[in-house]
Symmetry: C2
Subunit: 341 residues, 2 copies
Amino acid sequence: MRLKLEDIGRMAGVSRSTVSRVVNGEPSVRPEVRERVEAVIRETGYTPNAAARSLVSNRTGVIGLVIPSRVHSLFEDPYFARLIQGVTFGSNRAGVTLSLFLAQNEDEERELYPRVVESGFIDGVIITATRMGDPLVERMTSRQIPLVMVGRPDLHQVSYVDVDNRDGARQAARHLVDIGADRIGVIGAPTNTTTGVDRLEGFIAGLQERDRTLDPDLLVEGDFSEPSGHDAMQVLLDRGVDAVFAASDTMALGALRAAHEHGVTVPDDLALMGFDGFGATTTSAPPLTTIEQPVADTAARAVELLLSLVSGEVEAPTSVVLPVELIERTSTARSPIRAES
Amino acid sequence: MRLKLEDIGRMAGVSRSTVSRVVNGEPSVRPEVRERVEAVIRETGYTPNAAARSLVSNRTGVIGLVIPSRVHSLFEDPYFARLIQGVTFGSNRAGVTLSLFLAQNEDEERELYPRVVESGFIDGVIITATRMGDPLVERMTSRQIPLVMVGRPDLHQVSYVDVDNRDGARQAARHLVDIGADRIGVIGAPTNTTTGVDRLEGFIAGLQERDRTLDPDLLVEGDFSEPSGHDAMQVLLDRGVDAVFAASDTMALGALRAAHEHGVTVPDDLALMGFDGFGATTTSAPPLTTIEQPVADTAARAVELLLSLVSGEVEAPTSVVLPVELIERTSTARSPIRAES
DNA sequence: GCCCGCACTGGGAGCGCTCCCAGTGACGTG
DNA sequence: CACGTCACTGGGAGCGCTCCCAGTGCGGGC
């Protein structure tokens, strides 16, 4: 049978209330009493009943991570694995439990999330990878539940943690110009995501800083997947490019594969770079230049922010934007133009 | 303010109890009353308080997925992403919530899991990727909580779902012999996992069925990671092989990379195959022959089994073993030996 | 020596639900 | 017509905890 506060109290010769105080670390317990109670707890391996606790405290110590249905085909993108891992570690550090919500389709999404969110099972949610105008965000914000988005929201006044996608893409553009690239192609991320928009706008801004513009014919939109990068690259190779910025590493790897298939050598014939900073870009042939974003840190900050929203320390909306870093590798080591000059 | 049963009852002109019966779908409610109550619930968007419910029912509707600390460096292996996805979908279908437990190290593991498991927050757990003799399994089984392992356990009498690793590796061995391979190398999975043991034993059994044996010099153990496959392949190429079985696709991709670096052409100079059936093996150059395992199905079955353990329909230990399938692709299309003959 | 205040402790109330038992009224049977 | 039966409904009890208020005992100040 499971022990309860009352039992521990009886065994330690104190009352329920005193045991509760010890368990919750309240100071108003005489040291010797505290010690006696703690000894009993240790011996018996007592753990408070979470349901009873949260019934009265209205806190569950559980946070939810919601990833919308459209992402599932993209789940092989290492980004999500890393994000989930980061959120988990952040939760562990804070002593809260993580629940994961993925839906297979819109219907399941519509039914699943509100039910869980309203049942009071969760203290707050982190939402990621929504598309712009996603009704999910609307539904979530209409509840009183604290919420943090990973990635900049488009319309809603919600708290979020994001990386500086604009700045990263700006750096990328300047880098490609600086190594001597002339016809610069872009494999964009979906423009129905703020990430896609920010990376594209940043890239254009970076080109402008070097008095260049983006040729609309050399912009092809991908969907973050490897095959979409591959297909986009085929288009760009047909149109003629000497440098390509892929808005994600996964797409960059697809682009690299297409280049190989076409007998195009990177970086000699073509400079190529990605965005994200995943491990696979270090072992590709050649290793890819990329913009490294701090995924684990992003996740950790999202958890922290959410918990301070839950506890009321911070008011929504609050946002955090983390810096990214250009990592130069072989794939942009020699520019074709510079090689000529 | 959140509504409670009492409020709904008042609004519908019935008692708390009747509303409870409606919510729980009990038959003993007059249809017209039921309808009235359901109408009020729909209008108000009432959802029962999960904490109160589980306080009395001793069920939370939450299951845990535990992945031990040693896996984290391997988290980029698509296997875990797919498993998590599968478990999530299985949970959705069953109407339960999934909580995820990953620890960063042994200490965190020791502290995290028992606390959560004992708090009564969870109806049951799925554990995966334990190593043999893992104390985690011991700790988990010592609790009363229902438990299902993904992957065959080594010592404990616990329920599990696994794929037929032995049979898959047997098929692999026979395939490589049948295409005419002579010096067959193996990049093994860690032999402190039952998966590693089963795939190795199965491979040896397959060779024996073709009157072959495994040359101990041609067996190199990897750790499931891409770099470990790469390094193992370098060793095998030095020792001379004309076919290699890698016990995971990720390692096979690393092996392929090493082959490229050494100017070894697959499949002309060397037949290469993996195990898992991940997407990346279809886009590699060349696409890899592999043993496809049903990860999503494994996960779904694990959830099902766990829930029937929780409800008491099934007694532990119960096990499920799912079949795997050999998928032939270009990487073993022409054997070097057969090409000669 | 008395009283007040302080530090600590105990127990009642109640969180929102489920379970169970005791109604209540309609209907059928002897 | 009395009574038993059945279908349905209402409310008390209690799940294990936290919160709060009312003690209790001790020390210090007057």
